[in-house]
Symmetry: C2
Subunit: 490 residues, 2 copies
């Protein structure tokens, strides 16, 4: 899409081609004369605009197809807003809640986020911020009103200045920013609004009560809709993101090793999309952080308890990124100028492919552990298999020089036959040894990747302990037992 | 701070110790009896609370000392809010702008951000969103009012549902999210508020006019204060962040190489803080993205034009992170189990230290190019020096096996003297070759780092072209010339 846009941009001023639905195309050529040029210019503009809108709509459509949950969220917002508007349309409610119904509408617009956690976070922050600021503003307003007409504006102004500055500063403190950023904003907002209104409006208390009650109506409505109608949980998203990142890393790793050794058996693995998967992993920190922040506001849902250890996912994410960093270094070996010759690569090909595939399957097993939330003996087996394959690789690396020594001997034999200088022997060996370096560093990076996968395994294991994952085998036995018993019962 | 908190948490229930200002300490022991225990419990709680508040204040104080610009921002927000409140306090303005003055207050609270770019982004989005939504809502309101009392609520409800859903969806599209996220929110907000109010309030047009004018007053006030009083420019922050990241990377790299070869001359470089600098670089993507988004809203300021190529900083940032990824891999060589023996390390020590320091100085030169925004011949020299040192390292790597061959010959001589099997020769060589692998991979990672530094240099050079950096040498000549000319003129 972008490339075709560039083509169009490049061709602008040269020629404009319209592609007809039947496959033919028509070229727009600029007409001569002022009127002709103006018409051509307008045609150009309109077509450009149509193209841009078409492009935008196509992107939006792709996005909707790619993630239907986003569409559902939009419909939920639409429904929520329309329903809340009833509070204003319906006369009985109008008389009860009055003009302040606009606060309910405003609350729905501002508070309704795409995940349940974010909605609860904003709702609780909004209600608490409004309540605290309202109470404080009323208190200060009372003090100010007792101190005479001259001092009243001074006290109000000073209190606004001090509280606004202090609260704004608190938003820079990381622990406040993570949990109460929105609440602090609402605190400043409500405090200044109530202070300012308090100077004019009578029945301040009634207004404050109405405003708070409409906000509570709005927020609880948002929380219910977001939790009951196709809920999107931040915690679940975070959980799935970790599992997806592990899968991407596994595919990326396998593709990289297969491509390095030109492994034809593994055509499926060598896919450009798979190969570049680690890049998504490297850039996922911001999403993980915000999801973890929202997840802790969520009640128990699905397989997750209220006190699910969401922070541990950040540790898992960090260890996945550390591994992705190493896969990135591994990937550059593919495009490096210095490549080991094919005959050397062949010597390590089998064992490296084995290490690569056992790295990949261990990572996939870890992803499976996360997805199913069940500890499986398979994971331990795959880690053991990874360790043993790495040990074999290290052995092969040790035995690799032997073949080089054999080459040296062959070279020596040739040399003594030809009676040449000693110098030449060492040169021929040297070339072989320099040639080995790219392969050796590829292999040692692969070993480092395996070490980091063990780091991920450790973090996942910690999560399994903290969140009390069940053992997959125990469950299977439980499932099998009733089936075995049933026939005897019959 | 955290550790002492943990200590306290661990000791809670066992003993409470109060540290007096004179250095002595008093242990609180639980008294016997119910009353004693209750008093002890309350003491515990109060002390814990005091400790938490003290800790929070200390963190806030450290933050303020660390970045006084944040304090200035808070004072600016305080001043802006207090001044805007005058719009409401002062009677003539009250009569002009009326109750809608609260929209000015609300605008200041919501729109005032810590950087000029973010403030302008929010201001323009708020004004445009309010205007478009207001105009559309008035239009639909007019159509609805023409179609009879029955259809009016249906038309209003349907339009709210459709527009809210569509606009919410547009916020998921990356290009909209980056530029108009806040505007879309305000669009939904204003549209529903005007639609809902329109059903009850007469003089809708006057109200809309007043609301828009107060918002324009609020936003322009925010923009002026943020631009005129100690402005913090997002663009400048982005620019400095790139330079800082380069410096951190340079220090991290130098410390890593020095530590690997136990270089005692470079004690200054081996600093844990320096060594870990690359980690900040790896995590800077989110900040860079948001700064680049805000920077494009900013007018020309300082050394930056309006159309300064801010997007190029994202490319520079990406190339810096690619390099940091490689430095991370280099860093793990420090803690790896397989280490090359000291006598091998010594053979490459000098040249590797040279490559490390030339990598580091090239990176620092690039940082200097960014800081001064002047192209210097020094940068090219340092890149040339980097290339030549890398070539020398590659040569040394080639000549390194020669010494191993010499070792082999010595071993062979010993062996023929002792009449032992051929097997043993190859084993003794093999050990040396396996030992070389960690060193070889360190060296090839170092070479890869140098390649990526050239990538950064390329990105910085592109920026220099796009932003038309002046040459540092030309400016010096210009500065020197007038001094030379002056005496002859006199």
């Amino acid at each position: 899409m972008v490339s075709s846009e560039k083509e169009m941009a490049a061709s602008c001023g040269v020629e404009w081609r319209i592609n007809m639905p039947d496959g033919s195309s028509e070229i727009l050529t600029p007409e001569k004369g002022l009127v002709g040029r103006v018409i051509f210019g307008i045609k150009c503009m309109v077509l450009g605009l149509v193209w841009k809108i078409w492009d935008f709509l196509k992107k939006a459509w792709d996005l909707a197809i790619d993630d239907p949950k986003k569409v559902i969220h939009c419909l939920k917002v639409g429904i929520a807003l329309t329903v809340v508007s009833l509070f204003y349309y319906m006369r009985p409610l109008y008389e009860g809640v009055g003009r302040n119904a606009m606060w309910a509408v405003m609350t729905v617009v501002v508070v309704f986020e795409s995940t349940v956690g974010a909605t609860i976070y904003k709702s609780l922050n909004r209600v608490t911020g409004t309540f605290l600021a309202g109470a404080l503003a009323l208190g200060i307003h009372w003090i100010a009103s007792q101190s005479g007409e001259k001092f009243e504006p001074i006290i109000m102004g000073a209190s606004i200045f001090l509280l606004a500055s202090a609260t704004t500063f608190s938003r820079f403190i990381p622990s406040v920013k993570a949990r109460f950023d929105y609440g602090a904003l609402i605190f400043i907002l409500t405090f200044s609004l109530v202070s300012v209104s308090g100077y004019r409006v009578e029945k301040l208390l009634t207004m404050a009560y109405h405003r708070l009650s409409t906000i509570i109506i709005g927020t609880s409505f948002c929380i219910f809709i977001s939790m009951l109608v196709c809920p999107v949980w931040a915690g679940e998203k975070l959980h799935l993101l970790a599992a997806q990142n592990l899968d991407k890393l596994a595919n990326s790793l396998q593709a990289c090793v297969a491509l390095y050794f030109n492994d034809d058996n593994d055509d499926m693995a060598i896919d450009h999309k798979n190969l570049q998967g680690y890049k998504c992993v490297l850039n996922s920190k911001a999403t993980e952080d915000s999801m973890a922040n929202f997840a802790r506001w969520e009640p128990a849902h699905g397989r997750f308890n209220f006190q699910h250890p969401w922070r541990q996912y950040l540790k898992i994410g960090a260890s996945i990124r550390r591994c992705a960093c190493c896969v990135e270094a591994l990937n550059t070996c593919l495009s490096s100028e210095n490549q080991a010759p094919e005959h050397l690569k062949k010597q390590l090909s089998n064992i490296c492919l084995r290490v690569g595939s056992s790295c990949s399957s261990a990572t996939k097993e870890l992803a499976m552990t996360l997805k199913t939330m069940k500890k499986s003996a398979k994971t331990e087996f795959s880690i053991e298999e990874l360790r043993s394959s790495v040990k074999d690789l290290q052995k092969e690396l040790k035995s690799l020089p032997q073949s080089l020594v054999n080459q040296l001997h062959t070279a020596k034999a040739q040399q003594s036959a030809e009676n040449e200088q000693k110098e030449r022997v060492s040169t021929s060996t040297a070339v072989s040894l320099v040639e080995i370096i790219p392969l050796a560093s590829f292999a040692s990076l692969l070993i480092e990747v395996s070490v980091r996968i063990e780091g991920i395994a450790f973090a996942v294991d910690e999560l399994a302990k903290l969140a009390d994952f069940k053992s997959a085998e125990d469950e299977k036995i439980k499932q099998i037992q009733p089936i075995k018993i049933q026939p005897t019962q019959q």
